[in-house]
Each structure stands twice: as structure tokens, then as C-alpha cells.
């Protein structure tokens, strides 16, 4: 799409190293990035707590079926939308990684201040799952393929497969067996039993149920592939929703004097930087 003459003028100014406009643009970058960071961290964290909450809160909910299935699917909702916005409009393959890092930052803050200091749960019970490797994978597939379709097929499938694979490095120690009161438990079960939660009794756990294990007895792999197929669909849906949301409306440009226009210049909607794509 060709630029309006005024936009072309702005771009040429921006491309000049150390020009007044490029310096201003850089300051605007930092300002907006700071706002975006808090907004994404808050929105994504709330979304994930509401949809994948308990599976991620507690070590004795991190099972082979539901945790593996649910987590990538609900993560994909926000990640695909942000990836679309960052890539379609700025050609920045960082949407997923940005979401992943900010989610993890928010989760650690929440687990430390909320779960540990406020409610006295130990960190061994409430550590958050790793999501950054799968987000990096999704960004890198998009970056290298430059294709929404390939990212939906290869990236989204790998996104789901990489979740249990990357988390195994920290989860395995919690699946080591131990004997307690003559009963066989995993260390995760033992931690969940020991550090009791008043309102989250053992029976509330939605774990190890259903028939996903029936194919060769490999629950985790089956669950991860199932999650991967759903993630492909979720990616396609939420990529397009993200794209659509990014094009909603425009606002009057009150900063035009900083962008090379005079105060009395009549900048039309089509010319304005906030104009519709």
C-alpha cells in the first residue's frame, strides 16, 4: 500500500539518523513499550489465571493430560493475537516472546508476594510452568517462514509439543516416587498433601481422567498432540481476531506539530498516522 505524501515525508525524516523526528520517535517507542508491557502483563496474567489457573498454580495439578492439553490452548488465545499485531503492523517477530516473558514475570511476582508471603505456601508447591521456550519457537517459526499458514501448522503444533518437553527438565524431580504412611505418592502429591490448602482439597484436582491414555498408554504425548491440533485452529482464529482488533478506528492526531506539520495544517483522516489501514 502506498503511503500518503505526508506519511512519506515523515518516513524519510524518520530514516535520517539522529534527526529530530527519529529522536522523538525513539522516545515514543520507550514510552509506548513501557505502557504495553504493563498492559500485556496484566491482561495476559488475568486471562491465564482464569482459564488455566489451578493447573499452573499447584504442582500437584501438573498432570499428564489436562495440564498438558489446556495450558497451550489457553495461552494461544492471547499470544496469537499479539503476534498478529506485532508482525502484521511492525514486522516484529516478538509478540509471543513478549507475552511469555511478561506472563512469567507477572506469575513470579504473584507467586512470591501472593502465594508465599501472603498465604505462606512454599515455592515448591506454586512454581509457574515454563512458557518462554514455546513462545520463542512460535516467534522463530514465523520469523523464518514469514508465513501465517506455516506458523499455524508447524509453529502451533510445536508450541504445544514443546510445553511438556521443556517443562520436563523441572517437573521430573516432582514425579519421583516416595512412600508416605505406607502409600505410594509422587513428590508433587506429597507436597500437595503436606502444605494443605483449605479451599482446594485433593478431590478438586482435575487430573488423570478420561481416555487420552488409551493410545499405547502414552498420555503425555497423546495429550500434547491433541493440544497441538487445537492450537492450530486457535492460532488461525486468534491471529485474525488480533488483526481485526488492530484496525479498529483511529483518533485525531494531536501531536502533529511534533511530526513536521504546522499547527494550522489540515491533516485529513487518510493522511493522519492513525488512519485506517
Amino acid at each position: 500500500m502506498a503511503l500518503e505524501p505526508s506519511q512519506e515525508r515523515v518516513l524519510q525524516e524518520l530514516l535520517k539518523p539522529n534527526s529530530q523526528m527519529s529522536r522523538f520517535s525513539r522516545k515514543l517507542d520507550y514510552f509506548i513499550i513501557a505502557i504495553v508491557m504493563f498492559a500485556v502483563m496484566g491482561a495476559f496474567h488475568i486471562h491465564f489465571m482464569l482459564t488455566g489457573g489451578d493447573w499452573d498454580f499447584w504442582v500437584d495439578w501438573k498432570d499428564r493430560q489436562f495440564w498438558v492439553t489446556v495450558t497451550p490452548i489457553v495461552l494461544m488465545i492471547v499470544i496469537a493475537a499479539f503476534q498478529a499485531i506485532f508482525y502484521q503492523h511492525f514486522r516484529l517477530p516478538i509478540g509471543a516472546t513478549l507475552c511469555g516473558i511478561l506472563l512469567i514475570l507477572g506469575e513470579w511476582l504473584n507467586r512470591y508476594f501472593g502465594f508465599y508471603l501472603w498465604s505462606h505456601f512454599p515455592m515448591s508447591l506454586v512454581w509457574p510452568a515454563l512458557v518462554i521456550p514455546m513462545c520463542l519457537w512460535l516467534d522463530l517459526v514465523l520469523h523464518l517462514s514469514r508465513s501465517f499458514i506455516l506458523t499455524a501448522i508447524i509453529g502451533a503444533l510445536g508450541f504445544a509439543l514443546m510445553f511438556p518437553a521443556s517443562n520436563w527438565a523441572i517437573l521430573a524431580a516432582f514425579r519421583v516416587p516416595i512412600e508416605v504412611q505406607g502409600t505410594l505418592l509422587s513428590m508433587a502429591d506429597y507436597i500437595g498433601f503436606t502444605f494443605s490448602r483449605t479451599a482446594t482439597p485433593e478431590y478438586l484436582r482435575i487430573i488423570e481422567r478420561g481416555t487420552l491414555r488409551t493410545f499405547g498408554g502414552e498420555s503425555t504425548i497423546i495429550a500434547a498432540f491433541f493440544s497441538g491440533f487445537v492450537c492450530m485452529i486457535m492460532y488461525a482464529i486468534w491471529w485474525n481476531i488480533g488483526n481485526y482488533i488492530a484496525q479498529l478506528g483511529w483518533t485525531n492526531n494531536r501531536l502533529k506539530s511534533f511530526m513536521g506539520f504546522k499547527k494550522d495544517d489540515n491533516v485529513t483522516v487518510a493522511e493522519g498516522l492513525g488512519g485506517k489501514l
Binding site: 512454599p122 520436563w168 516432582f174 508416605v180 504412611q181 505410594l184 506429597y190 494443605s196 483449605t198 485433593e202
Partner: protein, 423 residues
């Protein structure tokens, strides 16, 4: 002038708000217990009845971090379970404290491990034991509790425990079946958790910084819009960096997984079974038929008229009436001083349980008597809000004793008609 008036109003409004907040804070009590009084009376009197409760620490006593506290007792699953809530198809013996201020070392029901949930049977009794270890300093209200599926937590009688020391001194060591010894369950496995989280955060931050240290928003948006700068937006160097990152990501995920599997070759899934625990054997009981039940509002007294039939071989007397964890003791039958040493004062009626005739009831004999349970606890424990409940009935346990000292427990189930003016 207008602005001056507005500012004045704003200042006055702020001052008033501050006064309201300070007043509210100064007259309100801090809530440290668990809101058990807020549960509806029909729920508290007709679900679980706790009895024979023993704690190895006195109410408001002190223990140090790492000290052990044991709670033992029994509970009756009331036979006339309220129809408004589901029956206890799945329940779990729990401890109700402020977060993990105490940890559970052991949990037993009828001598069987109660680590997992179990199925409850109405009208039957269960004996339990919970062994706790103090973990976090403070003054805590600790209850045994049964969580019931789709009903929620049903708390037993609680006591206050003062924990002294520093939570950083808490220790809980153990050995896995692989033979690995751990010093503290609170920090078990956290070295790997912190290590991998930091590693991936560094890699992720590198990727982010690689892109956002370049001019980011406005120029890139215009370049994308123009469609003529694709090679400027993503350069060959960017592609090379992307390939290296992809190799690193896949390599560390696969390598990390393989290394971990070799380190922990024997792992098991989360255990999600159900504990099968039979209730205690059915004990003989006394036949009690309710004639009527009233609550005398001014006197804070529940009066129940019943016909008692002695179905045992020895004369019996009523010794105790308990509802919603409040104990009403017949002082001539049971040593009140002994009971008061083991029961928190707020859960023990100070005046004696009164019966119109509590002389020993001979075997096979029936007698109509009125039982008066009178105490301010009916109000303080909010049990009189029964009148606002959808099911205006009261449940209680009656404890009879025969001349040989044997105890018989009978459920009492009665409608409750309020009497506002006894004259």
C-alpha cells in the same frame, strides 16, 4: 471563585473520607478465624458433628516452629443430611489454618491413611488423627475440617495456637524411593526451577532486546504500510540470528529433557485414586422421638420435647447435647471442670443442660422430657439465624451414659419454632 469553591469542596470531601476510613478501622475487629459462624445453621447442625476432640496443645497455647501438634477426634455424618446440598460422595480430611502455617505430617481416618479423598457414609462415625508441624510464626486458628465435594469445607471445633520462632528455620527432611535425601520439602526441586526459568528468561530477553533496541514503532509501521522496505525490516542478519536461536531453543529443550530423564529414570504420574475407608462399626443407641422444638429468643434457649426409650440393659442418663460444635453438659452426669479444660470456652455452654427429669431411665422404659439448652452461644455463633434458613430444622447429638459408664450416641432432629414473647 468557582475554582476556589471546587477546591474547598474537594478538601472537605477528602477530610470526611479520611475520617470515615479511620473510624471504620478503629471500631472494626480484625478477623483471623475462618468465618465458620457465617455458615448457615442448618448446614452446621445437620452435616458433621465432631466429638471426643483432643489437641496436644491447649487453646491459646504456644509452640515453636517445627513443633508437632496432634489433633484426634471423631465425627458423625448426620443421617438427615440437608437436601439442599449434595450427599458426601467424595470428601477429604483437611486442616483449616491460615494458609500453610502448619503442615500435615500424617492424616488418618479409622487407622487408614487419608492422604487421598474418601467416600462418606451418612449416619456413621469416623475416627481421625491429624499430625501437624508448626511452620510459620503467628497466632493461628486451627481446625480439623472435612471438605465435601460440591458442598465445601465443614470445619470442626478450632483452637488458637501461638507459633513462635522464625519460618526460615522450618525443616522437613525426607528420602525419595530413588534414595535421594532432601533437607526441606519447602524448597525441594527449586534449584532446577529457578535455574531453567532464569536461563529461558535470558534467552527470551535477548530476542526481545535484539528487536526493540532498533527503531521500533513509527518507522516500522510506515515501512510495513509502504510495502517497499521488506528487506530493511528483516535483514539477512536477522534471519541468521533467527536460525541460531531456533537451534538453541530446540537443542536446549531436547537436551534438557534427555539429561533430566537420565537423572530421574524412575518417575510416576500424579496419584489420583480414592481411599476406601469403612466407617466405624454401628454402635447401639437410644431411641429418641421428637415431640416439638422451640427456640426462646429472649432466653437464648433451645427447648426440645422428646420421648426417650432406653433400649439397653442398664439405666441411662443424658450427659451431653452438642450442636454445631457447641457443647451443653449436664453437670450432674459429667465432670464439667474436666470438659472445660479441653474445650475452648466459646464452644462450651457454662450453665448446665437442664432436663425436666434426668433421673436414671430403666431398661425398656420410655419417658417424655424437655431438654433445655441455654447459652448466649446460640446468638454468638449465629445459630439463631436458623429462622432465615430455607430449612428451619436443627440437628444435634445426644450423649447418654449408662450406670457402667458406657456411652450411647443418638441423633436429634427437630423443627425449630421461635418463641419471641414467652409470656
Amino acid at each position: 471563585m468557582k475554582l476556589k469553591n471546587t477546591l474547598k469542596c474537594l478538601k472537605q470531601g477528602l477530610a470526611l473520607s479520611l475520617m470515615v476510613i479511620v473510624t471504620a478501622l478503629s471500631i472494626s475487629e480484625a478477623a483471623f478465624a475462618h468465618g465458620e459462624r457465617n455458615q448457615e445453621p442448618f448446614l452446621r447442625t445437620r452435616t458433621l458433628h465432631w466429638y471426643d476432640m483432643k489437641y496436644t496443645v491447649e487453646n491459646d497455647g504456644a509452640v515453636a516452629i517445627n513443633d508437632i501438634v496432634t489433633i484426634t477426634g471423631k465425627f458423625r455424618m448426620f443421617e438427615r443430611w440437608p437436601s439442599q446440598i449434595p450427599e458426601p460422595e467424595r470428601m477429604y480430611l483437611n486442616v483449616n489454618s491460615n494458609g500453610s502455617t502448619f503442615v500435615k505430617l500424617e492424616s488418618w481416618v479409622n487407622g487408614k491413611p487419608a492422604i487421598q479423598s474418601m467416600i462418606g457414609e451418612l449416619g456413621r462415625d469416623y475416627e481421625f488423627k491429624i499430625v501437624l508441624k508448626a511452620r510459620w510464626e503467628g497466632r493461628w486458628h486451627v481446625h480439623p475440617m472435612i471438605n465435601v465435594l460440591d458442598t465445601g469445607g465443614l470445619a470442626g471445633p478450632g483452637i488458637w495456637i501461638n507459633v513462635t520462632g522464625d519460618h526460615n528455620d522450618f525443616k522437613m527432611a525426607g528420602t525419595t524411593l530413588e534414595g535421594d535425601v532432601f533437607e526441606n520439602l519447602s524448597t525441594y526441586g527449586m534449584a532446577q526451577v529457578y535455574g531453567w526459568h532464569i536461563f529461558w528468561a535470558v534467552l527470551g530477553l535477548f530476542w526481545l532486546l535484539y528487536w526493540i533496541t532498533k527503531p521500533t514503532l513509527m518507522p516500522r509501521w510506515l515501512m510495513v504500510k509502504s510495502g517497499e522496505y521488506e528487506n530493511t525490516l528483516i535483514t539477512r542478519t536477522d534471519t541468521k540470528v533467527g536460525v541460531v536461536m531456533l537451534v538453541l531453543v530446540v537443542g536446549f529443550v531436547v537436551g534438557g529433557g534427555l539429561y533430566t530423564t537420565s537423572k530421574h529414570p524412575r518417575t510416576i504420574p500424579l496419584q489420583a485414586g480414592v481411599a476406601h475407608i469403612n466407617p466405624l462399626p454401628v454402635a447401639p443407641s437410644i431411641k429418641v422421638d421428637v415431640v416439638k422444638g422451640n427456640y426462646y429468643v429472649p432466653g437464648r434457649t433451645v427447648i426440645t420435647e422428646v420421648v426417650i426409650t432406653n433400649t439397653t440393659d442398664l439405666p441411662i442418663q443424658l450427659g451431653e447435647y452438642t450442636a454445631a460444635n457447641i457443647r451443653f453438659i449436664e453437670h450432674s452426669v459429667i465432670d464439667f471442670d474436666e470438659v472445660s479444660q479441653t474445650t475452648p470456652a466459646e464452644l462450651l455452654a457454662q450453665s448446665s443442660l437442664k432436663l425436666s427429669d434426668n433421673s436414671p431411665l430403666n431398661p425398656g422404659e420410655s419417658r417424655q422430657v424437655t431438654i433445655e439448652a441455654s447459652d448466649a452461644a446460640w446468638e454468638l455463633e449465629r445459630l439463631t439465624s436458623l429462622m432465615n434458613d430455607p430449612d428451619n430444622t436443627l440437628g444435634a447429638l445426644l450423649f447418654f451414659y449408662d450406670s457402667a459408664g458406657n456411652r450411647y450416641i443418638t441423633e436429634l432432629f427437630s423443627g425449630m419454632v421461635p418463641v419471641f414473647d414467652p409470656t
